[in-house]
Amino acid sequence: MGRWREDDVVADELLAWVREKPTVSRYLAAARELRVKTPSERRRVRIAMLRNFTVEPLEAYLCVKGASAGIAVDVRVGGYDTAMRDSLMTESWLFDYQPDVVIIALSLEVLAPTFFNRFLTLSAIEASEVAQQVASSIRQMVSSIRARTTATLAIHNFALPGRPLEGLLETTSMTSLTNRIRSLNQELVALASGMRDVFIVDFERLAERAPVDARNWLMARAPFTPAILEELSDVYARILRARAGSSRKVLVLDCDGTIWGGIIGEDGISGIRLGEAYPGSAYVGLQEAALNLSKRGVLLALCSANNEADVDEVFDHHPSMVLRKSDLSAKRVNWADKATNLRAIASDLNVGLDSLVFVDDDPHQCEMVRTMLPAVLVVELPPEPTAYRAAIESLDCFDAAGLTDEDRRRVELYKNAQAREAARESFSSLDDYYRSLEMVAEVGRIDEITATRMAQLTQKTNQFNLTTRRYTAEQLLALARRSGVEILSIRVRDRFGDAGLVGVSIIAPGADDGEAEIDTLLLSCRVLGRGVEDVLLHATARQAKELGYRSLRGTYVPTARNQAVATFYPDRGFHPQAEGDTSWMVTLGQVELAVPAWFATISFPSNLSIGAVTG
């Protein structure tokens, strides 16, 4: 085989080459090359596609979009007519493959051809039966896959007919094909909303924006135009990112020209554009979109070159302001450069720069941030303010695998943190300060309800995370059922509020008999530095002993972000096993793993009781 490009092309160049001209042939060529180039030691995310039509070029798109998100993928595609069999039979390639993600992409036209193509020859009862059969097939597939794998599921919903079959009645009649398919799609929503790690790929909406090509469909059963391939693979990439926890957390807004029109320092509070009528309404639109994001758990911050008093005046007194100061988790209004301010905001909120999204209307500021802080996602607003709202609503970087109570309450949690910081300054000794917080820690076992949040913590926690192993909720629950395994959570609250579930530890059988291994020990950054980690380690050791283990091994797996915990175990009396080793041991019962005295109350799961505080 000849070469189509030089050998030493690196993955980044390859991706840039596709972005420069995103054609089907470039995607295919790049995907082929990426498969060769990805280092084999990095485990690829295994994606299985169950389909009943030609999806093939999509596999290449998925590979390239995955790589762009830093996720190496391996894709396997099932046969045209075997989706049901593959997912229902125990002996099938699907389960041998041990997929991390299963995409179910079924065309109704193939699944139920009479229903889709000759709908009006069916009686209402017949049509209803077919619809029920389709829904039940998908339910069966999903429950079989769920029973045998911990994979994340992405299920395509169904495209509506290209044209109405019954004229005006199509939209009026409950029993028209359009409305039958809509109810079928509703059933999929019901199925997905009752399960963890199941996503619906909105093919209904997608097919309307980028219609199927009838020629390619009939001649090659290949419905996808380049436009659909792009859009569909974007959705898959979003799911991969959400699954990997690589979503962003903070929306940082500029003021002048962004959340209002004009310049507050020159135009004054009565001169800026903000209100019910255009053009002020466009800025209200942006603020409303930002407010909605904050209700999804995205933190809002302000970063503006202005006099702080001018900006405060707008927030306090402008009648059309949608955002309130209380919606903001951080604020830098001063004359320092934006890069410095963004760094300060990241530090205030205890997140990495790669959690920030920066929104500004000024191309120079945007370029400066892109250059100085490449980890920050920069949203340069379009020239027309009427397009601002869409620019914010189109952001696809905030997806979480499941919305938890903590997500919804995150803004409030940060408020509590700020009050706590203020109180800290009034105490002379740190111990006194901690005592004054009246901290309560509750250690519990994983259950169906807490699994989503615990999985989210394994996905998102980078700093205080000894091993940085990522799990989905399904994987955690499956792991917890194994013998010798215990998965613990810790919740913390104090007089300033409830921080919620903030830590996870996983005890697993070690290499030697009688030895337990701490597979995972992590803590959300919002409670760092208050001794919660010692309570969690103490509980982990107690529970390991309870399970009958004699020794406990703790391992540190270094990453770019977790240097702070490099000596966590040796600092607490764990012994090194070998020179330069990054795992340490304690014999249970010999070393005292103390909990800080300033906790008002600590509770453990039922078979654990607080008593002599030894490991």
């Binding site: 000849g2 189509w4 089907v24 042939s25 295919l28 060529a29 020629r215 001649m219 090659a220």
Partner: protein
């Protein structure tokens, strides 16, 4: 006629899709002697050429585009 620049672009598509060295692509390159040119890649080739040159092949033409020369000649007719 098809210009030299267009021919380079066309050969590039074939090279990318079928993993070929562009200099080896000529009138003899066909679905019969290119390993990667199967029915799946065939539809990708057609979509790619259409995407690159902003043309659309008719159903009748589709069935005949089984070698490079045929694709080149059909494209030349469309671009004329």
């Amino acid at each position: 006629m098809i210009g030299a620049a267009e021919e380079v672009r066309l050969k590039q598509i074939f090279a990318e899709l079928f993993e070929l060295d562009p200099s080896t692509i000529d009138g003899t390159t066909s679905i019969d002697n290119v390993e990667r040119w199967d029915s799946l890649q065939h539809i990708s080739m057609i979509v790619s050429v259409e995407q690159e040159f902003g043309v659309r092949f008719s159903e009748e033409e589709m069935a005949e585009l089984l070698n490079y020369e045929r694709v080149r000649a059909t494209l030349a007719r469309k671009l004329a």
